[in-house]
C-alpha cells in the first residue's frame, strides 16, 4: 500500500500540474470564433477596440465589414488595407478573389492556416508553431517592423519567399500586384497585449500604410459567393453588394453605409443560402442531419435497448440481502516481541549490548560444559579443553565492542564455534 503511494503521489502531482497547465492554456487561448475576437467594437481582452482607436488617432479611417463580399468590394476600390483577423472562416472562393486586388491595396492576414494560404495563392507554408507568442526583434528590412522594434509577433512561423521579420513570424510579399502581409500571431492586435513591447507600433504600422482600413469582423463560416447577376460588370470585379442575393432581401430598407458602419443587418444565414446549396449551408441552421441519416425505427430501437439496459441495471443493483460482517479474532504472531526487539537492536545499531548478550550466553554455556573451579578461570578451562590460544579466547569473550555488523556476525560465529569445540572436546 505504502509502496504504491510512493509512486502514485509524485506521478499524480506531475499529472495534475500538466492538467492544470493544459486547462489554463486552453482557457487563456483566444477563440477566433468568439464574436469579440479582434473586433474593432469589442473592448474585451481579445478584442481590437484599442487598435481601432489607435488607427483612428493616426487619421486612418476604419471601415468595419461583417461580410466578406462587402469587404472585398470596398477594398477593391483601392488605397485601402484589407485586414482579415480570421482567414479561416473566409470562404475559399473569396480568398481566391484576393488576387484581384489593385496594387494600392494591402492585405493583412492573421495566422492563416496552410489551406488559407493555398487558397489565396501565396507561396508560403506554415513552419513550426510556438506554445505562445514570443517577443522578438524584427531583424529585417520592413519599415513598419523596424519602427516598431521588439514585438510579440513570433508564434506561427512561415517558410517561403518575401521579406521575413521577427524570425519568420511576419512575412511580407508582393504577389498578384498586391501587397500581402502574413503575421502568425494575433497578440499585437489584441486589446490586452497591444500595450506591450512595440506591439502597438507594429499593429498600427502594418495597418496604417493606406488611408483606410477595411476590417473584416467575421467569426463564423460564411456562404460561398453567389452567382453574379450581371456578367458584364463582373469581369475582374469582385462580387459587390449588389450582386449578393442576400443583400437584396435583407438590406432593402437600409442603405449600404448603414451596413458598413453598423454591420447590424448583415446576418450570415438567410433562407436563400440554403437553396443555393453548399457543404457549409446545412450546418448553419436546421436540425442535426444525423436524425435523418437513420430510419426512425433505429432510434426507437436504440431507446428501447437503453430502457432494457436500465432494467438490467435495476435488476442487478438489488442484492439478495446485505453482506454479513463478523468480528475477526485477535491473533498475534509467534515470537512477535522477540522479532520486534531484534529489529529495535538493529535499528539502534546496538552492537555493544548485542555483543554483551551473545558473550554472556556463551559464557553460560561454557560454564555449564566445563564447570570451572575457583582456582581455574573459565578462559583457562576453555583453553585447556580446546587447546586454543588463551589470548584468543579471552579476546573473544571479553574483547572490544564490534565496530560493524560484519564484525558482530563474525563474533557470533566465533562464539558458536568455540562452544561447539568445547562440547566436542569433552
Amino acid at each position: 500500500m505504502r509502496r504504491w503511494h510512493r509512486f502514485a503521489i509524485p506521478l499524480g502531482a506531475v499529472a495534475l500540474v500538466f492538467a492544470v497547465t493544459g486547462v489554463a492554456y486552453a482557457v487563456n487561448e483566444p477563440d477566433p470564433s468568439d464574436p469579440a475576437f479582434l473586433s474593432p467594437l469589442s473592448a474585451d481582452g481579445i478584442g481590437g477596440q484599442r487598435l481601432a482607436q489607435a488607427l483612428a488617432a493616426r487619421g486612418v479611417r476604419v471601415e468595419r465589414e461583417t461580410r466578406t463580399s462587402d469587404a472585398l468590394a470596398s477594398a477593391y476600390e483601392g488605397d485601402a488595407t484589407l485586414f482579415l483577423p480570421v482567414p479561416r472562416v473566409v470562404h475559399p472562393d473569396y480568398l481566391a478573389m484576393l488576387r484581384l486586388m489593385p496594387p494600392t491595396t494591402r492585405i493583412v492576414l492573421v495566422d492563416p492556416a496552410r489551406r488559407a494560404l493555398d487558397d489565396t495563392g501565396l507561396p508560403l507554408v506554415p513552419g513550426g508553431r510556438r506554445w505562445a507568442a514570443q517577443a522578438a526583434e524584427p531583424g529585417c528590412e520592413l519599415e513598419e517592423a523596424r519602427a516598431a522594434g521588439r514585438a510579440a509577433a513570433l508564434r506561427q512561423r512561415y517558410e517561403g519567399n518575401g521579406t521575413r521579420c521577427y524570425g519568420t513570424g511576419v512575412v511580407r510579399l508582393i504577389r498578384f500586384q498586391s501587397d500581402f502581409v502574413v503575421i502568425g500571431a494575433s497578440d499585437p492586435f489584441r486589446n490586452d497585449r497591444i500595450g506591450e513591447h512595440g506591439n502597438r507600433a507594429l499593429a498600427t504600422g502594418l495597418l496604417a500604410t493606406r488611408s483606410r482600413v477595411v476590417w473584416l469582423d467575421l467569426h463564423e463560416l460564411e456562404s460561398p459567393p453567389g452567382v453574379t447577376d450581371d456578367p458584364g460588370s463582373a469581369s475582374g470585379v469582385p462580387p459587390s453588394r449588389g450582386t449578393d442575393p442576400a443583400e437584396g432581401d435583407s438590406g432593402g430598407d437600409g442603405s449600404s453605409d448603414d451596413s458598413r458602419s453598423g454591420g447590424g443587418d448583415g446576418s450570415a444565414g438567410s433562407p436563400e443560402d440554403d437553396s443555393s446549396g453548399g457543404p457549409s449551408a446545412s450546418g448553419v441552421d436546421g436540425e442535426n442531419p444525423l436524425w435523418d441519416a437513420f430510419p426512425a425505427w433505429f432510434w426507437a430501437l436504440l431507446i428501447q435497448l437503453a430502457l432494457a439496459v436500465v432494467l438490467l441495471a435495476l435488476w442487478r443493483a438489488r442484492r439478495l440481502g446485505a453482506p454479513v460482517t463478523e468480528p475477526l479474532p485477535v491473533t498475534v504472531r509467534a515470537a512477535e516481541t522477540v522479532h520486534g526487539r531484534g529489529r529495535l537492536y538493529r535499528r539502534a545499531k546496538a552492537r555493544g549490548p548485542t555483543a554483551d548478550l551473545l558473550r554472556a550466553a556463551a559464557r553460560d554455556r561454557l560454564a555449564q560444559l566445563l564447570a570451572p573451579s575457583p582456582e581455574m578461570s573459565l578462559v583457562d578451562a576453555a583453553a585447556a579443553a580446546t587447546g586454543r590460544d588463551r589470548e584468543q579466547i579471552e579476546g573473544l569473550l571479553d574483547g572490544p565492542t564490534p565496530e560493524s555488523d560484519d564484525d558482530l556476525r563474525r563474533l557470533q560465529a566465533d562464539l558458536d564455534a568455540l562452544v561447539e569445540a568445547v562440547r566436542r572436546a569433552r
Binding site: P295, L307, R318, P329, R341, G342, A361, Q412
Partner: protein
C-alpha cells in the same frame, strides 16, 4: 422490482420495431406492455408477510466437523411461492449453499437444509434470511429487508479436543497408579486404603506391626492415591493468549490441555473447577462430577483472546473465594516477564500458601533460525533469560512450572498432574 427477464423481453421485442408502421408508437406499446406485464407479475407474487420461517437442527458441532441446520419455509398465502432464499450466516460458519431455490405450494411447507462447516471455534450465529418471491412469469419479484422475520439460531462450535488421543494412555497410567499397592512414595498425603497379608516382595517398611500383633499373620498396609481432591483450571484469556502457537492461538492449546486434564482428573475421582479470566471472569464451571466434561466444553467454546492485560489480582481473589479446601491450581498462561512478573508475582504468596500451583505455559518455538542474525539472536537470548528469571522466581514460591511446546503441551500437563498425584502432593 423487475428481473433480468423483463429486460430480456424488452430486448427481444425491440427486434420487431422495424416492422411497426410507426416505430415510436411501437416503442411506447412494447415498453408499456412489458411494464404492465411486470406489474401484473409483481401483484401475483406470493406475499412476503404470509411466509413463516422456523429453524431446527444442530445446536453444537465440533470444530472441523459439519453440521446441518434445517429451515422450514411455510407458505400460508393462497398463491404458490417461487422464491430465492438466502440463508446468511457469518462467514466463518462456512454455510453452503448460500442461496436456496424453493417452491412452496399454498398452505404447505418445505424444508431446506444448510450445511455448516465452521472454520473457527465459538458461537456462529445465523444473521439474516432474505426472501425474494417471484411472480409466476418471473418478470418481477417482491423482496423486503426484515420480512419475514429471521428466526434466531446460533451454532456453538466446540473445541476439537485433539488431545483425546492421549486419554487412554494417561488413564492406563492412572489405573496402575490406583491398582498397585504403593511400593514407593509413602508420602504424607497418601491415603490409607486397607490391610492385607504380606507377600514376598512387599516393602518391609509398610508392615503394620500393630495389626500383625493382633493377628497371627504379618499384615501390610496398602495405600491408594487420594480421591476427592480438587483441581482448578485457570485460563488466562488476556493478551498473551492471543499469540499464535503453531496454527492456533495459545488459548486453544490451553483449552485442549485443560480438557485433557479435566477428563483425567474426573477418572481419578477428583473434582474439577474451571475459571477463564482476563480483566473479568469470562467463564466458570464448578462442581458436578457426572456431566462435567460436556459442560466444560460448552463453557470453553466461546472463549476468545482479548487484547488486555490479565488482572491476576482478580484471578487470585476468585480462586481463593471459590476454593476453601486445598486444591491444585493449574494456571494456563505464558511465561512472560511483563505479564507474570508484574501481575502475578506480587499476589502469588497469598495463593501459594493455600493451594498447590502449577503454571503451565505453551512456549514460543524460539528461533533456531536466529543463527545468522546476531541482533535477533541477542533478542532471543534476552527473552530466554527473562523467561528463566520468571521461572526461577515462580519456583522460589513453591510453584511448579511447566513450559512445553504446543505439540506435547496437553500430554505434559497430564503427566505433571499424574506425577503430582503419585507423589501425593495434591
Amino acid at each position: 422490482m423487475v428481473t433480468g427477464r423483463a429486460a430480456l423481453l424488452l430486448i427481444l421485442a425491440a427486434a420487431t420495431l422495424p416492422l411497426w408502421p410507426s416505430p415510436w408508437l411501437g416503442l411506447a406499446v412494447l415498453a408499456g406492455a412489458v411494464l404492465i406485464l411486470s406489474m401484473v407479475d409483481f401483484a401475483l407474487a406470493a406475499p412476503l408477510r404470509d411466509v413463516e420461517f422456523t429453524r431446527d437442527g444442530a445446536r453444537t458441532v465440533r470444530s472441523g466437523e459439519t453440521a446441518t441446520v434445517a429451515l422450514r419455509v411455510a407458505n400460508r398465502s393462497p398463491r404458490v411461492l417461487h422464491a430465492d432464499l438466502r440463508d446468511a450466516w457469518v462467514p466463518s460458519a462456512g454455510a453452503t449453499p448460500a442461496v436456496h431455490r424453493v417452491v412452496v405450494e399454498p398452505g404447505s411447507a418445505v424444508t431446506v437444509e444448510t450445511s455448516l462447516t465452521p472454520t473457527r471455534r465459538g458461537d456462529r450465529p445465523a444473521v439474516r434470511l432474505t426472501l425474494r418471491s417471484y411472480g409466476p412469469l418471473r418478470l418481477a419479484f417482491r423482496q423486503r429487508a426484515g420480512r419475514p422475520e429471521t428466526p434466531q439460531w446460533t451454532l456453538r462450535v466446540l473445541p476439537r479436543f485433539d488431545s483425546r488421543r492421549f486419554l487412554p494412555e494417561k488413564t492406563a497410567r492412572l489405573r496402575t497408579l490406583e491398582g498397585s499397592t504403593v511400593t514407593r512414595g509413602r508420602g504424607q498425603g497418601t491415603e490409607f486404603d486397607a490391610l492385607r497379608e504380606y507377600v514376598i516382595g512387599d516393602d518391609v517398611r509398610s508392615i503394620d506391626w500393630r495389626a500383625s500383633a493382633r493377628r497371627s499373620d504379618v499384615l501390610v498396609r496398602t495405600w491408594r492415591p487420594e480421591r476427592d481432591r480438587r483441581v482448578v483450571c485457570v485460563l488466562d484469556t488476556g493478551r498473551t493468549s492471543a499469540v499464535l502457537a503453531g496454527a492456533e492461538p495459545r488459548l486453544d492449546a490451553a483449552i485442549d490441555a485443560a480438557l485433557l486434564l479435566a477428563a483425567l482428573a474426573l477418572r481419578a475421582g477428583d473434582q474439577v473447577d474451571l475459571l477463564a479470566v482476563d480483566t473479568a471472569v469470562r467463564a466458570t464451571v464448578s462442581g458436578g462430577r457426572h456431566v462435567l466434561l460436556p459442560r466444560l466444553v460448552n463453557a470453553l467454546a466461546p472463549l476468545q483472546p482479548s487484547l488486555v492485560e490479565t488482572d491476576f489480582e482478580l484471578v487470585v481473589g476468585e480462586v481463593l473465594r471459590r476454593e476453601r479446601k486445598r486444591a491444585l491450581v493449574v494456571l494456563f498462561t505464558a511465561l512472560e516477564p511483563g505479564a507474570l512478573g508484574d501481575g502475578l508475582l506480587p499476589v502469588l504468596p497469598r495463593l501459594a500458601t493455600r493451594h498447590k500451583i502449577l503454571v503451565a505455559a505453551v512456549h514460543d518455538p524460539l528461533l533456531a533460525e536466529a543463527k545468522g542474525d546476531p541482533y535477533l539472536a541477542a533478542a532471543t537470548l534476552r527473552t530466554l533469560g527473562e523467561r528463566d528469571r520468571v521461572r526461577s522466581a515462580l519456583t522460589r514460591h513453591g510453584v511448579e512450572v511447566l513450559d512445553a511446546p504446543v505439540d506435547t503441551f496437553a500430554s505434559r500437563v497430564a503427566d505433571t498432574y499424574l506425577a503430582l498425584k503419585q507423589a501425593g502432593k495434591l
